[in-house]
Amino acid sequence: MANSVDFNLSPIMELELESLREDDTAQDSMCQLIRVTGTGLESGSPETLEMEVLTTEGRDRMASQMSDVRERADERRLQRSEESMQTDLLVRNRWSAATLRVLSSMPSRSVGQQSRLEIISQCNIRSTQLRRYHRQNQDVSLSSRPRIRGYGIEADSEDVCEEETKRQELVINLQSLSAGDRVRMMRATPLSLAEKTKLRKLAFSDKVGQSLLSSQVPCCSLLKRALYHVLFGCLFILSSLQLWQVALKRLGGRFGTGVLSYFLFLRTLLLFNVFLFLINSLFLVLPQAIHPPLHTPSSHRVTGLELFTGTGYLSNSLMFYGYYTNSTINTSCRPDEATAGTGCGTTSDPHMMAYNIPLAYFFTIGITFFITGIVLVYSMSKSFGRSFRVFKSQGNLAIKVFSSWDFKVSKKMSVRLQSENITTQLKELLSEVNGGEEEKGRLSGMALHLLAWSISLGSTFFCALGIHCFAKHMHLRRLEDAEGEVSLVHEARLLALPGVVSCGNLLLPGLFNLVSWMENYNSPIVRLYVSIFRNLLLKVSILGVLCYHWLGKIAAEPEQHGLQCWESFVGQELYRFLLMDFIFTVLYTVFGEYIWKLFSQGVLRRRRKPVFDIARNVLELIYGQTLTWLGVLFTPLLPAVQIIKLLLLFYMKKSSLLVNCQASRKLWRASQMSTLFISLLCFPSFLGTSVSVIYTMWTIKPSSGCGPFRNLPFMFHSGKQWAQELKSTNPKLAWLNWVHSCLVENPLFLFLMAGVFLMVIYVNTQVLDGQRKIISLLQEQMENEGKDKKFLITRLQAIHEERQRPLSPSSRPQPQGSEV
């Protein structure tokens, strides 16, 4: 955040310094400038209209002496309209040629005309600054543009080839920079490629054939160069492996940045899951797969339903918690000797690798959650930094006009749509800025909002209640079923609860959409946030009810629910939920979107296809990811299922989009939305799951019949036991135990950390505040400088006219507003 503020400061500083510089030079140096720069100008096209506005504004400002400009914006607007009336009466063409030349050669305007010279000068300054910075010289602050211009004039005011000297200076500066800086400088200069190659040849004419990166060849630089090559090679491979690059480009080109953000979010989630899956399989699944536990093979009929319910032969597989043993695997043992207990080989060879499965389970899950949390918080803060606006101005019109055109969009239809979008937004913004909003009947508006909120909250509450009762009912049914024979119908009943939940997840958002359409919000942004909030509340309450059910009821009294291994059961439930969610999404995409398109085009006769609902789809993704994270503790292979699901979802959504939908007309602030999504992923989703995982590990008694934590009072005792064992076997590592007891069991440490964290936040907010104040002060200063500039120009003109008058007694009559 601080960086973005600094960037704001530097152009402001340059402008300020430039105007300072200009005001410092007295009128004689102005004449010098006129002489020197009068030669090489191509077009001194008079900008007469703005000159008049300048004059009148200057006069009016001097007369009225308005000090607090910003707060009198309305008055200024009024004045401007008065001034525009006065311009017709004003004198046109009254600026003399000399004044016009001065004006058009001002540094702030010379981007188009003397572009090469100006850019080379700027490059010069920057390279000088860099060189001085590297030599620890602090004298950089005043080497701004005007100084260089002044330098050029003092040194060789007679020399026409100013450009050549500048170029030589630049070449010398470049040669003295380090390689990395040189590359960065060359890349960042807005010169044409031909110019840059010329410069490069000039600067390194004696090192023909070598690349810039290999300009110095001592031994350590050779190593550095080799490292660079390796790194570039790796990056090249990584970038060529970028998943779905072409497809994403096509989608972005056709539908814009908003829809693209959904797919980018999907890709991010995929990467998280791949990471989870790799770590889990490497440290958890593989060791256990190599040394499978001995258990009686139960006879299960292999029907296809197992894939959906997770029961049957899957329940005693690597998928679920119950499969994992609480043994320590010694690598010197033969596989069939690895039984429950301490493992084979009584005299432990100290150099033998012993792999403690419960410990591995505990630490793997803990560390993956920790790393995921860090990565999430980091990406969230980066995203926040990108979308944070340092200070809000009165309106967004300039920003919208300058930066809203998406150059990636290439199809003609999409381009036309984008133009329409922008037109609508501009018109809306204009009407907002210049006129007030209509005063709707406030009372009826309030009542409507109240009604809408009560409907949505009420439906959420009833949905949650219904799920709670249904879950209890299903468990009773399951108990009854378990007493009887196992049949297909009984297994299929396991799918009822997930089905009902997914139904609720699908239908209630539709209800929310209807309700918000009824409410008829004025601003689309508010409507979007409200809908996201309602959907989020629905999902949080559903998940909350389910978690209470699993962790609070089932885990606490597993015998009452007839379960040997409650963790496996919870894992299976989560697996079922994930699958049913996917199936319902597929059904919704196929039937919902496709059939709705047919319906709306055929029956309702709308010409436009339906719009891709980004918010709803993103919340679905977050819901799926929450389920995965909840289930990782009980089902280590659940990330693999989620990976497959996300892959299939990508292709399905892509084809559905291309066939059924079209780009939205609504405003979509892509970067702020991405920030919102990542923060939704982090805060309710990840935080909630980590809280529940920690709760499970710390307070719930694991089942005694299955899993790696059997016979332990709590799951985290495996870590504690290991620490104590370490103390007894290897006294040198006793400090680890001490660290462990300090960190984990001492609440003071957490308080300290929280305190430090809060202090850092406070200091950063204060710094931001201070920088905001500086920015507003500088803005005021710049406005004052602008007024000074106008004052000087009018004085210059006045003096010039005074001088002209005695020379030409028949002075030209001041032309009135007829000439243009």
């Binding site: 402001i12 188009g112 480009k249 381009v415 036309r416 037109t423 970067s671 803005q779 106008k790």
Partner: protein, 187 residues
């Protein structure tokens, strides 16, 4: 110099990699597409006329396509024809890794329709007309246009001289988080 040979020289390739923001793949792809544009013409030509450049699918429907060609063209005749190096410049400025400064510099030059170094009322009007489209009913009314331009100048003209110069433009752009992602063209 731009080459019409089917292969780019290795040192030329590495030189382009150092001087632009493009990766090796992107430069090779650009070379391929550029050669396709040249393939029907005389082999001796090194620059592609503007009409051919405008036939690229990425530029075909872009309302700023002519300005883009004019800004990046280094030909003396000011006809908007691009050599291969101009083409690389174009892609580099519009690439993923180009800095905000470069992008805003070129955006300013693209929006400066009369090439006078500042964005005055006429430039802004043409800009808004490009944004809102060709058809008559999607354009703004003159009254709205006038209001829009005065609002823009009020927001972005810091020294109140009636035009937006490069620094003021860059200041406005730096406040917009979407600019970098929307000022992109990928082949």
């Amino acid at each position: 110099m731009g080459t019409t040979a089917s292969q780019l020289g290795k040192d030329l390739l590495s030189e382009y990699q150092e001087l632009t923001f493009l990766t090796k793949q992107e430069i090779l792809l650009a070379h391929k597409r550029f050669s396709e544009l040249l393939s029907k013409e005389d082999r001796n030509l090194t620059s592609v006329p503007m009409e051919k450049v405008l036939s690229l699918p990425e530029l075909k429907s872009n309302p700023f396509r002519k300005r883009i060609c004019h800004v990046f063209s280094t030909s003396d005749m000011k006809d908007g024809s691009l050599t291969f190096e101009d083409f690389l410049d174009l892609l580099s400025a519009f690439s993923d890794s180009a800095t905000l400064e470069i992008k805003s510099h070129y955006a300013f030059r693209i929006f400066d329709f009369d090439d006078d170094g500042t964005l005055d009322g006429g430039d802004l009007e043409k800009l808004v007309n490009c944004l809102t489209g060709e058809t008559e009913d999607s354009r703004l009314t003159p009254e709205e246009m006038r209001q829009l331009i005065s609002n823009i100048l009020e927001e972005s003209d810091i020294d109140k001289d009636g035009t937006v110069n490069l620094s003021e433009f860059q200041h406005v752009i730096s406040r917009s988080p979407d600019f970098v992602s929307s000022f992109k063209i990928v082949l």
